[in-house]
């Protein structure tokens, strides 16, 4: 099978490195794409579940822009709604009518939501949720869990990272996923001091197998929060509208006080939302929180169209089916070549790992080999299944994976 080369991508990066810190920064940095020589750095166009890089190579995309593009790139329904709104107004002196319509739709759709607030990035919503928890309780401390990603604000980062100081983490207590006893211990040792607990609905860290909640875990956490007056915050930024349109908490059977959404709610348009119960609304109203583009109308129109499309087509069920079909097929192909491909997390956003090499080097090599044959796989992060992924795409992915397994088997005959 032909493999790709990325001369233009890498040349462009050399220029970028001189004038942009890191060349490409943040979660789009090529650094965790291993080996970097197997990956494109810049795209030229995207449609449905595919993108093309600047060298003209076509990829079946299993990252969906790291989550936002749930319905596929350039979805006609979403684009049309955005375009209609753009012709009327976008960033203007007052919000558009669309803001109320979108809030109304979220309140109708998300079970716990009595109100909705809009911003741009997931981190805007998660940070706002902490401020509300503190405003509501008059307390300082927040519990978050090790390996949980909530954005890039200083409170979300490890205090040993550049630009972060230990004081940034002063009021953060770090628990462990699925470990209720640690949470209970924090509460016991900090009576009347904990404002909120923030966590993702299931554990989806990078470089590690993903873990679903243990039986009864969330119910116990919910009860603990109610009993102690602690605000329970769910970061549904990555998972939201992929597991359940009513909120991923419904999928796991519990009720938080606040839920942060982003990514899937805009199908690529810049919008995030925080929704909450009526008990949280007064505190939310007291916190002054805004941004220059947060009330822009076009992303709201795109978001409303996206949510309606997701509901109408029962996208969570569709993603789960496609995800199961894809990962099940890949596991069979791996087995045929003598490898063990482990799949964890939810099928809509699975995390895959070849267990034959605990160092991950073999897995990194396989993902790289697949990518340079046209199936864009990352080795460090959960993948995202697009609703636009077709059976033909999945079949093509199987052919690519098969060829990539042949190559790594040839390179490492002792590992299979």
């Amino acid at each position: 099978m032909k493999t790709y080369s990325y001369n233009k991508s890498h040349e462009l990066f050399k220029k970028a490195a001189k004038i942009i810190p890191c060349g490409i920064y943040g979660h789009f940095s090529p650094a965790p794409l291993i080996p970097v020589s197997d990956y494109p750095f810049y795209i030229s166009k995207a449609k449905d579940a595919h993108f093309w890089d600047v060298d003209g190579n076509e990829f079946i995309d299993y990252m969906c822009a790291y989550g936002p593009v749930i319905l596929g790139y350039n979805n006609p329904v979403v684009e049309s709604a955005a375009e209609m709104q753009r012709q009327q107004a976008n960033c203007a002196t007052a919000p558009g009518e669309i803001m109320v319509e979108l809030a109304d739709e979220l309140v109708k759709t998300v079970t716990i939501a009595d109100w909705a607030f809009f911003a741009k990035n997931g981190n805007d919503a998660t940070t706002f949720s902490l401020m509300i928890a503190r405003a509501k309780t008059g307390r300082k401390k927040i519990i978050r869990l090790k390996g949980g990603y909530h954005g890039v604000a200083p409170w979300t980062q490890s205090p040993d990272h550049p630009g972060i100081i230990f004081e940034d983490a002063e009021n953060m207590l770090i628990g462990e996923w699925n470990n209720y006893e640690v949470l209970e211990d924090f509460v016991t040792k900090n009576p009347g001091e904990i404002a909120g607990i923030i966590a993702t609905p299931y554990h989806h860290p990078t470089f590690e197998d993903n873990v679903l909640p243990a039986e009864g875990y969330w119910k116990k956490v919910e009860q603990l929060c109610k009993q102690e007056g602690i605000v329970l915050i769910i970061d549904d930024v990555r998972t939201g509208f992929r597991l359940d349109v009513r909120g991923s908490n419904e999928y796991f059977g519990f009720k938080p006080d606040l839920i942060a959404f982003c990514k899937a709610i805009g199908n690529g348009y810049p919008i995030s939302a925080l929704v909450g119960t009526k008990e949280m609304k007064e505190a939310a109203s007291k916190v002054f929180y805004t941004g220059s583009y947060w009330l822009s109308a076009v992303p709201m129109a795109a978001s409303l169209a996206t949510i309606l499309e997701i509901k109408e087509n029962n996208v969570p069920e569709m993603l789960a089916e496609k995800g199961k079909k894809l990962t099940g097929g890949l596991q069979k192909i791996a087995k045929r070549h003598g490898f063990n491909l482990k799949v964890t997390g939810h099928p809509a956003m699975p995390y895959l790992r070849l267990t034959d090499d605990p160092s991950l080097m073999l897995h990194q090599e396989w993902c790289g080999e697949c990518t340079k044959r046209g199936a864009y796989f990352t080795s460090h992060h959960n993948w995202f299944i697009s609703a636009a992924l077709t059976d033909t795409d999945i079949q093509k992915t199987f052919e690519i994976a098969d060829d990539a397994f042949k190559t790594i088997k040839k390179n490492h005959p002792h590992k299979s």
């Binding site: 650094a31 750095f41 490890s158 160092s359 991950l360 990194q364």
Partner: protein, 253 residues
């Protein structure tokens, strides 16, 4: 923990460690030692201990107290030791007065030779031998300084306490040098050479890349994306070590 103590640990366990390869790979350095048999102990009040042994034309540097030193050099404080490394103070010999001429002459010349290879900014033309030695020493200092800062630098201590257990191989292409780190329960141990089946790898394309990268002159994200530094394996180990490498420069003068 004071910066002086961290610096003293780095001076004794990372900088001095380079005497081994200086004697092994530099003819001028080897001539200075000849076949001399001697063990020098460096003892710092409330600070680190190390020893340097010359035997059969080889040099070995170790941690802790040497069993039978011919010479004991005592320092009243970490600051005192660090001043000596900066050429601004002398040690207090407690044992081996008959060996003082070696210390004043050959050993001093040896350390000057080491300093020469560590300061490329003072050298007009860098030949291949110089670059090879400088790269070797830079990599050794980086690797052997990490256990020190992981113990005593507040930020590095935090990073080390969150590092996953495992091994990291650091290599410079095409022919080395190579060093490795072993991490267990937040404690880091450094070693020279290659290990079998490392959990993570950091491979630097050549000596120039290694120098810039290890001296903090290039940012790691860019260097990796450009393919100058290749990484693979357990990236959380590399992430943590990278954060700590950034701290080393604060203590190496």
């Amino acid at each position: 923990m004071s910066a002086q103590k961290i610096k003293a640990g780095i001076n004794l366990h990372a900088i001095l460690k380079n005497l081994e390869d200086l004697v092994a790979f530099d003819d001028d350095a080897r001539k200075l030692i000849g076949n001399r048999k001697m063990c020098i102990r460096f003892s710092v009040k409330n600070g680190p201990e190390a020893w340097v042994k010359f035997e059969k034309g080889k040099c070995t540097v170790g941690r802790g107290k040497a069993p039978k030193p011919n010479v004991i050099l005592w320092f009243s404080s970490c600051e005192h030791l660090n001043k000596m490394f900066d050429g601004k103070a002398n040690p207090i010999p407690l044992k081996g007065f008959t060996k003082l001429s070696f210390l004043q002459k050959e050993f001093t010349q040896l350390t000057k030779r080491l300093e020469y290879f560590l300061r490329p900014e003072n050298v007009e033309k860098l030949d291949e031998h110089y670059i090879k030695m400088n790269t070797n020493f830079t990599l050794t200092i980086a690797a052997y300084a990490l256990p020190e800062i992981a113990l005593f630098d507040e930020r590095a201590k935090f990073t080390a306490s969150h590092l996953p257990d495992g091994t990291l191989q650091m290599e410079v292409l095409p022919e080395g040098p190579d060093v490795y780190l072993e991490i267990k329960a937040g404690k880091i141990t450094a070693g020279k050479g290659k290990i079998a089946h490392p959990d993570a790898m950091m491979i630097m394309k050549d000596a120039h890349v290694a120098n810039d990268f290890l001296n903090g002159k290039t940012d790691s994200f860019t260097a990796i994306a450009l393919g100058d530094v290749m990484i693979k394996g357990q990236i959380p180990i590399l992430d943590g070590i990278n954060l700590m490498l950034d701290r080393v420069i604060n203590y190496v003068s």
